[in-house]
């Protein structure tokens, strides 16, 4: 996936993030949709998007399954201030792509449409993260475990 994204003009980091989004989406289908049962189908379609003149060219990825249908409005990333395992996948997907649209398929299963453009909002977020790392403002947080704990103590055991 990352190699395909690079061929369509995405940066190294954006390509990695797009691959991460697809990985997270597939994991969600396998884990939550199919309850980790083997033998169920997942369809993935990828096609290029022309430059729209503002956000650049991009890729559209559609992932479909035959898992139990759920209300798309209930597919939400969790509150990130709630420090606990799980629930991160949807948040990550929404952060690293420009559009993430869930819908029930006709008949059975769910459809997730992902859109990411080379100069879209998610690419800018990726650039901001990269810049934070490069200038050291967001990386190498060596606050002591006690400090980290005190900042989130009330929520860590959730």
């Amino acid at each position: 996936m990352a190699g395909t994204a690079k061929r369509f003009g995405f940066s190294h980091d954006s390509s990695s993030h797009l691959a991460l989004a697809v990985d997270e989406a597939l994991c969600n289908v396998i884990r939550h949709g199919y309850k980790q049962e083997v033998g169920h189908p997942i369809w993935i379609k990828i096609w290029p998007l022309d430059d729209d003149g503002t956000l650049g060219p991009g890729l559209c990825i559609v992932i479909e399954d035959e898992a139990e249908q759920i209300d798309p409005s209930k597919i939400q990333g969790r509150d990130l201030d709630d420090i606990r395992p799980g629930g991160l996948g949807v948040h990550i997907i929404r952060q690293v792509v420009d559009e993430a649209e869930y819908a029930a398929r006709d008949g059975a299963g769910m459809r997730l449409k992902l859109v990411k453009r080379t100069n879209g909002p998610s690419a800018k977020r990726t650039q901001e993260l990269t810049t934070r790392c490069a200038d050291g403002t967001g990386c190498d947080d060596l606050s002591s475990p006690a400090d980290a704990s005190s900042n989130h103590d009330g929520k860590a055991g959730a």
Partner: protein, 126 residues
């Protein structure tokens, strides 16, 4: 002192003592939904070996990829370490792995050291 190792073609998890108060868990390969259970077991082993007021350093320098299941496993490890009253320090994250912590805004929750030596210093201050 080598204490335990779990290896498969996708990478390894190695637990060793650094000193009397510090256990090091070195992880390599990709940590995804398939390997997260291995990481969870190794983390539990490592945390179980740490004496009171000691620390576990999780050396992620060899991890080329991690998804949300890996991050969730580390969050569980952090919670377990806090319950046990020991420290948990991550170190040497590759950019690709670091970015998922930043996207999940967990880079300020975990103590994250740039290098192993910095992790040892951070662990000693617990």
């Amino acid at each position: 002192m080598h204490e335990g190792q779990s290896q498969n073609p996708d990478g390894s998890m190695d637990i060793r003592s650094h000193d009397q108060k510090t256990i090091v868990l070195s992880v390599s390969g990709e940590v995804d939904i398939m390997r997260s259970p291995d990481l969870q077991n190794s983390l539990q082993d490592a945390i179980g070996k740490v004496p009171g007021k000691g620390s576990v350093i999780v050396d992620l320098s060899g991890v080329s990829y991690m998804d949300s299941s890996g991050v969730a496993t580390l969050v569980r490890g952090l919670q377990l370490s806090r319950k046990k009253g020991v420290g948990l320090v991550l170190c040497s994250l590759q950019d690709r792995v670091r970015s998922i912590f930043e996207i999940a805004r967990l880079d300020t929750v975990f103590p994250i050291a740039g290098t192993f030596d910095e992790a040892v210093e951070a662990a000693a201050s617990v």
